[in-house]
């Protein structure tokens, strides 16, 4: 019996030692508690915010598509019903791509919140205050950009500015438009203060890197935000920084309009901010889900926009925008050069008889998007089946600064002073002097002229629907009728549906969330 007792004691000893083997460390990753210690980690955290701009629901595919298709310059032509219905302003609340847009911009918000909360606490001995400011500045900029996109797309959304740790924080309440836009302003103001004009001469791991948010990007987007909310004075103040202030002579128009939509000459003098896409890295396409080091950094806009026969051709430019380009000839009597950069069209008169490096292979009467497609790059890609492209997405260009400033001047009663800023953009397109062609326009005439100029300069760049919304055209019977003639999709528009609906999934899960007018 004694032997048995001994044996039992040995067993017990054995098993207590087993209990010690229950504390296993995760061999795969650092825990959050171990993070936020080194300089490299602060930079890496900042890099990860940008990553969320390059996934399906953000600039990689769906956001440009669903924004463009609601404009009168673009219409969906796709078996994918969500795309068609979005263009017709009747997309269901359960639509996947709509949800992806929502999801992705909140990815940006969450990652930015983590950076703002944690990098802010860094010891200056580890991270110099200049570096800290730059990292925080980028986080503020990216969060501001995310809320700008959420507000223009969904009108009312929750505003979250702290990292989420407690399950109670999962269910954020819808904020008022006032609160959202104030958040956009505040973030972009902080960003503009903290960010450098360029990274060329900074000291730190980010030295010389292009593609990071700059003071110009933050200032430009802040101006665009004020303009959206019709705060012309504040918009003017920000825009003047580019013309007479600290950002003067930093930006200029590229001589060749096409340089803005190629995978060459990226991050150029005209570009205030662009989302970086690059071919040749990684093996897993960067649609969505938890990112990994094997991810590619490509966009799929090219393959959805690309023409019949080589790509999905999910969208087509409208005839209206095509005709709009044809309205005015260049000083040497040719077509507006922006036409064939924006639209792929068979135009023997303009020496355009090719697409994707070979003879035009679609009906000669058909027109297709060219901006942001690999056809536009002219890199000889004959087929877009790989759904991949390395063309950066330009979020904000200097020509927008010029046209926005012209708009501010016009709206603040300085119509005559608007001419030279518009003309800079027209001159690049080789168009005649507006002051000569259409002198002494009234404020209202100038508004229409600006709408025309913006349509041509920014067609298929995700701008048009936001312009239409902020100008109130949908609630102006004359303008609405015009829009319907531009694009039959507007026939099914009903008040409120100019926005995308708040995703049903979110409404179902979060009782603090309010539907928007598009729900």
């Amino acid at each position: 019996m004694k032997k048995i007792l001994y044996l039992f004691i040995v067993c017990c000893l054995l098993s207590t030692s087993c209990d010690k083997k229950l504390n296993l460390t995760n061999p795969n990753a650092l825990t959050t508690a171990e993070y936020w210690k080194t300089k490299e980690q602060a930079y890496a955290a900042c890099t990860s915010i940008y990553n969320a701009l390059g996934v399906d629901g953000s600039y990689m595919r769906s956001f440009p598509g669903l924004t463009d298709s609601r404009g009168d310059d673009f219409t969906a032509d796709s078996p994918w019903l969500d795309l068609v219905l979005t263009g017709q302003f009747i997309v269901p609340t359960t639509s996947d791509p709509v949800f992806w847009i929502w999801r992705e911009f909140y990815l940006v918000v969450n990652r930015a919140n983590q950076v703002i909360a944690n990098v802010g606490k860094y010891d200056p001995a580890v991270l110099s205050s200049d570096e800290k400011n730059r990292i925080l500045g980028q986080a503020y900029f990216l969060r501001g950009l995310a809320y700008y996109n959420l507000a223009t797309t969904f009108k009312i959304v929750p505003v979250i500015t702290e990292p989420i740790s407690n399950p109670d924080d999962y269910f954020a309440a819808t904020a008022t438009e006032e609160v959202i836009w104030n958040q956009v302003y505040a973030d972009l103001q902080k960003a503009a203060t903290n960010l450098p004009i360029s990274y060329d001469n900074v000291t730190g791991l980010d030295k010389g890197q292009k593609g990071r948010a700059t003071k110009g990007a933050a200032t430009g987007l802040l101006a665009k935000s004020y303009l959206y909310r019709k705060d012309y004075t504040k918009a003017g103040t920000e825009l003047e920084k580019f013309l007479t202030g600290e950002l003067k002579n930093i930006y200029s128009l590229m001589p060749d309009y096409r340089d803005n939509f190629k995978d060459k000459n990226e991050n150029n003098a005209e570009s205030l901010f662009e989302v970086q896409f690059t071919e040749g890295t990684g093996t897993d396409i960067n649609w969505a889900c938890d990112p990994s080091g094997s991810w590619k950094q490509v966009q799929a806009i090219s393959v959805t926009y690309g023409m019949e026969g080589v790509a999905f051709s999910d969208y087509l430019p409208t005839r209206w925008i095509y005709n709009e380009y044809k309205k005015e000839k260049t000083v040497d009597g040719k077509s507006d050069p922006r036409l064939l950069v924006t639209i792929a069209s068979y135009e023997p008169a303009d020496n355009s008889t090719q697409a994707y490096g070979r003879a035009w292979f679609n009906p000669q009467t058909s027109i297709y998007p060219r901006k942001y497609t690999n056809d536009g790059v002219g890199n000889g890609k004959a087929f877009e089946g790989a759904a991949e492209s390395g063309i950066n997405y330009r979020v904000l260009r200097y020509s927008d600064i010029l046209l926005m400033y012209a708009e501010v001047l016009n709206e603040t009663g300085k119509t005559a002073q608007a001419y030279p800023y518009i003309q800079q953009v027209r001159t690049r397109a080789n168009l005649p002097d507006l002051a000569v062609v259409k002198p002494a326009m009234t404020q209202a005439q100038m508004r229409d002229q600006l709408a025309h100029e913006r349509a041509l300069e920014f067609a298929i760049e995700g701008q048009r629907i936001n312009d239409i919304i902020r100008w109130g055209w949908l609630y102006d019977a004359t303008k609405l009728a015009e829009l319907k003639t531009h694009d039959a999709d507007f026939n099914t528009w009903t008040p409120g549906n100019e926005y995308l609906p708040v995703p049903q999934r979110e409404l179902d899960l979060n009782k603090n969330l309010k539907p928007n007018p598009a729900n």
């Binding site: 229950l22 995760n26 990753a29 990652r111 999962y170 890295t281 897993d284």
Partner: protein
């Protein structure tokens, strides 16, 4: 009396159980007499049989044998004695001259009650069980051919539901007693004493016993692992003192899919599609437009082209025997199942070698088993990442493929036909093409070994002490090879880049278990068994992925030949450290008591939540052993009441979830250079702990009619709390995992389980009928947080209702006139026309119908997706040398939402249609429930109870019908036994469901949604069993 008995029998079967019980308890007609004749009842080995009932035929004179088998009864010469006892055949003896000291020898009958049942860490006699335990008739299950053992359980035990589909190598869903967790619900498997193994790599030929532990009292000894039930399997051992015995079992059979979906042919298809275009005011697609030069006249019958006759075979050689102190059993097994889809899969092939040996000397006994398995599985080549557009599984793809697409097209790369949305109107995937072009296989190698030693430390004076230590090691390596060459199956399904994934998974499991057993019977009445034990388990999963793209032809698909390559890897380690103990006590073979406790510590939880305690207790009362019990054994041979209560745990969740971690692989490029960012991308679940399941169980086991009829029935109520809910959180949180886990759920399950069997064991014609039935009622108590509903595919889970109920709009018929549309509520902003589906406007923001039918206010529960009951029925019979068996199983009272049905009944789009669609609404054909065709439809396809959208799932499947013939011994010299048989498997299924399997595998939150399960083929097999 004889007559009376016959009248009594059919009545018994019709009576409700409680009434029957009451009747049996009535002692009225029984008279006790003082005995004059003395004798003994013994078994075949001469051991006394206690509790046998001795009756004088034709008289009401009874006696019961005592502990020593002795009895005395008042009987005379010429009278006949009837002797019966549980576990023995009834015995009749005509008395000659009265002799005291009469020895009556009973023969053991086949009644399973006398069987020893394998339980957790030991064995028990079935008659002493107090927990809910079903032992599976293993010989019967072996008549079903399946690649996975768990599939053999379907319909075999009450409360065990097995859902599976017809793809070779497919892994079934096994659920014991309903949906009691939102996560992994697979039972815990214990093979030859080794806990926590997977049973995929075992051959049914090697199985000796299979036991299902269902309640807490039976399963709590496995504590944290047991909440989903425990299945204990033992494998065959050799017999001592036996010369080498060679067994061969083999079969060969053909598989054929017998179900067909009725789809439209070319002309019908084009007519319907053109109508949908015209109704939408759109031009016809060129392929369908007779006026277009591209008008297609190809008419492909995809099911005919894509489904082929498969086959299956199994060969097993067993070598077994033993000496005085040792035994051995060696088995070699080969299983091969070629599937029924044209192309590279699905196929499954498996090789197994297994050795079991034991040896003993004095107080020491050692044993081991060693199992090696290699399997090769070609799955159907379905790949989300290259097959864009949310297409269904390949069986669904085949069914909805358009008839105007050719199977082969030599002009295309790889030679298969394709389609395009511009020309055909649909991106229809050529399932035969994709399944032929892609190669997708998994090779698994598994080595599983166990060594144990048992010391009989004490064996005198009735004290019996044994110590056992058991070590096991289980290593599985799997290689997943997925090759996609450049291909073209229409623009939408094409790639000019070849891709290869060559991944490996290595799973290591090790365990050490020490147990100490003590048993003794005190004073002949108090039987005590004590078990204490300790266990440590360790598991490691090492996952590696390598991927390469850009191969040049001719292809040599190895990773190094790709132009861009990447690799990923991760490792997950977990451990479980436990103590456990159990006491079984029985008094006078009448009162049974069992209590157990287990403490588990798991690495999966934070330090403050690591340990969990799982107690259980049960009692049993052998009513029929009481002295007041006077019912003769010929009516009720044995009756036992039992009840139990206890707690079980579940920790089947991923490792490390309690810690927030940094994803250090978040890339972005600056200046075209890739940088890796790092941030928390997944929300953590810091407070997670065990799921707990408390089960109350009450039932009885009865053996009736001298052991020929057995009946068990029980009721259980299981309350699962602290369920790890993957509860969806808003995407506005900005995390990638929008459904983190938390212990927030609670679910109740309750049900009744009944099993009954009748065994005729005498004469040239013998048979055995058994049936089981179980019901399950499910109710969700909590879902976490503010109990927000969980939405699945066409389903919703809310508290106080069943999990995953069908959910959607209420069908109100079709609109017949424009006036009707104008008068009705708006529906999702759709432009409606007569012939569209009308949905009910149920509510609105103010709680009243608001004139708009929308997702937010007008969806309601539409019925259950979980069968209310499952049942199984088995009949085996033998006449002389012939044997036959039939096995059937089914489920009832649930509704199925079929993706395939809906895909075939679309109003918009251009994939193929069901022939039912020919009956669609048109202005001249309005008396129908099939809506009009409209290429712009955004209305008709919504989740609803529109006819056909939810189908009655009730079914009865004839799983096996088998006929065998056994040759006489030594028909060929040296041949001990030989049997041949023929079996038809999945002969037929009586079902309302129009698609394939009503018992498809599904997700937890949409149990009634059939995503597209692969049809179960009908198999015709012939087999041979020989032994020499």
């Amino acid at each position: 009396m004889k007559k009376e008995k016959h009248a009594f029998l059919p009545m018994l079967t019709r009576m409700p159980v409680p009434f029957l019980l009451l009747l049996l308890l009535l002692p009225g007609h029984l008279i006790f007499a003082q005995g004059s004749l003395k004798g003994y009842v013994k078994d075949k080995d001469g051991k006394p049989v206690a509790g046998a009932t001795i009756t004088v035929k034709g008289k009401r004179i009874n006696a019961v044998s005592g502990e020593d088998g002795a009895f005395s009864i008042n009987a005379r010469t010429g009278e006949t004695l009837l002797v019966s006892s549980v576990g023995f055949d009834a015995y009749e003896l005509k008395l000659g001259s009265i002799t005291n000291g009469l020895n009556i020898q009973l023969t053991t009958n086949v009644n399973i009650l006398s069987d020893v049942v394998v339980v957790g860490y030991g064995t028990q006699k079935k008659k002493d069980l107090t927990g809910s335990i079903s032992s599976i008739n293993i010989n019967d299950t072996k008549k079903y051919s399946a690649s996975d053992l768990s599939q053999l359980l379907q319909g075999r035990a009450p409360g065990v539901a097995v859902n599976s589909d017809g793809q070779p190598g497919a892994i079934p869903n096994v659920r014991i007693r309903g949906f009691s967790t939102f996560g992994g619900a697979e039972p815990f498997y214990v093979v030859d004493g080794v806990p926590g193994t997977t049973i995929r790599d075992f051959s049914p030929n090697d199985i000796e016993t299979m036991t299902v532990l269902k309640d807490a009292s039976a399963a709590a000894i496995y504590g944290a692992a047991a909440a989903n039930g425990v299945i204990i399997i033992t494998t065959k051992l050799g017999k001592k003192n036996t010369a080498l015995k060679v067994n061969y079992n083999g079969y060969y059979g053909y598989d054929k899919v017998w179900q067909r979906q009725k789809v439209t042919d070319r002309v019908q298809y084009q007519t319907l599609n053109n109508e949908s275009r015209v109704n939408a005011g759109k031009p016809l697609f060129p392929a369908n437009d007779p006026a277009n030069p591209g008008y297609v006249k190809i008419n492909t019958d995809w099911q005919k082209e894509g489904l082929k006759t498969g086959n299956r075979q199994n060969h097993n050689i067993g070598l077994s025997g033993g000496g005085a102190n040792n035994t051995y059993n060696l088995s070699l097994d080969y299983f091969d199942n070629k599937g029924t889809y044209v192309g590279n899969g699905p196929d499954y092939k498996r090789y197994i070698a297994r050795i079991n040996t034991t040896a003993e000397k004095g107080i020491l006994k050692v044993g081991e088993f060693f199992n090696y398995t290699h399997s090769h599985e070609n799955s159907l080549t379905f790949r989300d990442d290259i097959l864009l557009g949310g297409i269904p599984p390949l069986i669904g793809t085949l069914v909805v493929a358009i008839p105007t697409m050719p199977v082969y097209d030599p002009a295309n790369l790889n030679g298969f036909g394709g389609s395009s949305s511009e020309f055909n109107g649909a991106n229809s995937l050529n399932g035969i093409g994709i399944n032929s072009i892609l190669r997708n296989y998994t090779d698994v190698d598994r080595t599983f070994a166990n060594v144990y030693a048992e010391l009989r430390l004490l064996n005198n004076n009735g004290h019996n002490v044994r110590f056992k230590t058991s070590l096991s090691y289980d290593k599985t390596t799997a290689r997943d090879f997925i090759w996609q060459p450049a291909f073209y199956l229409g623009k939408f399904f094409s790639s000019d880049i070849a891709r290869l994934n060559d991944n490996s998974r290595v799973y290591t499991k090790a365990s050490i278990e020490n147990t100490l057993n003590y048993d003794k019977t005190f004073a002949g009445k108090h039987a005590v068994e004590v078990l204490v034990g300790q266990s440590y388990r360790y598991g490691d999963a090492l996952l590696r992925e390598s991927r390469a793209e850009g191969f040049t032809t001719p292809y040599y698909p190895v990773i190094s030949n790709g132009q861009t390559r990447s690799a990923k890897g991760s490792e997950f380690v977990n451990s479980l450290s436990s103590y456990f103990g159990r006491v079984n006590y029985s008094f006078n073979d009448r009162y049974l008591l069992s209590a157990s406790l287990r403490r588990d510590g798991s690495s999966r939880f934070s330090p403050s939540n690591k340990f969990g305690y799982f107690p259980a207790a049960s009692i049993g009362w052998k009513l029929s052993n009481e002295s007041f019990w006077k019912v003769p054994a010929s009516i009720v041979s044995s009756l036992k009441l039992r009840g139990s209560y206890g707690k079980l745990g579940n920790q089947e969740i991923a490792d490390y979830q309690f810690q927030g971690i940094i994803n250090s692989g978040v890339p972005y490029t600056f200046n075209g250079v890739n940088y890796l960012g790092g941030i928390q991308t997944q929300v953590a679940s810091p407070n997670i702990q065990w799921e707990t399941k408390a089960i109350t169980n009450a039932g009885f086991d009865a053996v009736l009619l001298s052991g020929h009829f057995d009946l068990s029935a029980e009721y259980y109520m299981a309350k699962s709390t602290n369920l790890l809910v993957q509860f969806p959180i808003p995407a506005s949180t900005g995390f990638e995992n929008l459904a983190p886990v938390a212990n927030l759920g609670a679910v109740n399950n309750s049900g009744v389980e009944i099993s009954a069997g009748y065994h005729k064991t005498k004469g040239p014609f013998t048979f055995d009928v058994s049936a089981n039935l179980s019901t399950v009622k499910n109710k969700v108590i909590a879902l976490g947080g503010s109990n927000n509903p969980v939405y699945g595919a066409g389903s919703r889970t809310v508290i106080n209702r069943e999990i995953g109920e069908h959910y959607g709009f209420v069908y109100e018929g079709l609109f017949q006139t424009q006036a009707e549309i104008t008068a009705h509520a708006k529906q999702f902003g759709a432009t409606l026309a007569p012939g569209d589906v009308k949905y009910k406007d149920i509510s609105g923001p103010n709680g009243k119908p608001d004139g708009v039918v929308d997702e937010a206010y007008d969806r309601v529960p539409l019925g259950s997706g979980i069968p209310a009951f499952n049942y199984g029925f088995s009949f085996t019979a033998a006449y002389k040398r012939f044997d036959a068996s039939v096995f059937a199983s089914g489920s009832g009272k649930f509704l199925i939402n079929s993706r395939m049905y809906r895909d075939l009944h679309h109003s918009a789009g251009a994939l193929n249609y069901s022939t039912d669609m020919l009956n669609r609404w048109t202005p001249t054909h309005t008396n129908t429930d099939i809506p009009r065709l409209n290429d712009d439809d955004v209305n008709n396809f919504k989740d609803s109870n529109r006819p056909g959208w939810l189908q009655n799932g009730t079914y009865l499947r004839i799983n096996t019908v088998s006929l065998g013939y056994a040759f006489r011994e030594n028909i060929i010299k040296g041949l001990n036994s030989a049997r041949i048989y023929a079996t038809v498997q999945n002969l037929y299924s009586f079902q309302h469901y129009q698609q394939y399997n009503p018992d498809f595998t599904s997700g937890v939150f949409n149990p009634g949604f059939d995503f597209g399960s692969y049809p179960k083929p009908r198999t015709i097999m012939v087999g041979v069993q020989v032994s020499f």
